[in-house]
Amino acid sequence: MAGDPAANPNPPADAVLTVRELECRRGDRVLFAPISFAVGAGSIVWIRGANGQGKTTLLRTLAGLSAPAAGDLAWTGAPEIAPRPLYLAHANALKEDLTVSESLRFLLLLSGQRVDGLDLDRALERFGMASRKDAFVRTLSQGQRRRVALARLAAQRELLPWLLDEPFDALDAAGVELLAGVIAQHARRGGAVVLTSHLPLPIDEPAPAIVELHAPAFA
């Protein structure tokens, strides 16, 4: 596995995201010691840390949902994609009363993508959910819901940076392998990925760079 991006103060020329001395807060509590790292095009960054260390907060901050407490972060790269990374949160953002394909279509339309039925079918097919495309989300198991949420990744046409919060959660062994394939493929095409996972990442190529979150020196 790999290089420690924190050790390299100068971001690579193709950096999609540059984070400098970033600090996040939850209420009054500083969650982790300031971190710096850069995410290059075509690379995978794996955020690691104990429970409650701020992995989710960090991803939300990178997505722009929360403001950083200190330090700065900059999305660079092509201006039209830079400001909107694709963020998949812990919650699946699926509606119980919509069908699988309606949910996926809504999420894609929302992110400004034109959708046709074929794209949807292909994306669901990729995650093994094509046979359930007309089923209501409320009839799916946790793992199946996760697969539907992840199908968004396969349906994405543009090469957006991905922010994935525990994407391997609730997936079975086949699902984990599938998702690892999708993530690796995205990186090989030149897309950047930042993800959290408490399980070892089953991705070898490109090797994920690890960013470790540590408790702040004085809390």
């Binding site: 963020y87 919509l98 929302l110």
Partner: protein
Amino acid sequence: MSGTFAVLVARDLRLAARRRVDVVLPIAFFTVAVSLFPLGVGPEPQTLRQIAPGVVWVAALLAAMLSVTQLYAADHADGSLEQMLLVPGARISIALSKAMSHWLLTGLPLVVAAPVFGLLFDMSAPAIASLVAGLVLGTPVLSLLGGLGAALTLGLRSGAVLLILIIVPLCIPAIIFGAGAVTAVESGLSARGHYSLLGALLIFTAVLAPIATGAALRIATE
């Protein structure tokens, strides 16, 4: 931006079509509340005519408040709201679309049903027309303000009570001028002043409430 608005309204209407009971509830509440008054107050036509506009407006306000408390709750809980807020510059569209679907599902049915209740209270045709006109201008104000309240109390444990405490005072002008328009028509005066004020109120809230709602949503999800 208009794309987000259309996508969200279409989705909310589809969701409503799948949960018809939730949609019927505020209208049922309105119907029951309004029809109970003649039973309690007594069948005196003169009294009924007099209290009718106030009763209809108060019931409309309560029906709107009843249904608005959950406006953002489900989307907040399942993560949809975060995904909406991630769309650049979509906050105002979110607020507007939510208020719009709320109005289509509760305000519009009340506007359509109002003439029937006018007949129930023995109102004259011009009075019924002014009641409907007032509701057309006033119920969107209730939906917009209700949306603001729902966003401000999002994620709070006793949000519904707080929402009513915050929003009901803001709705009072709509009630006063809405009911006032009917009273004016019944006593042979022109209701144009009332309509103008309701219209001004609608424009004012349509411009400012979505901005405030967007900011509140942002704070609630931070």
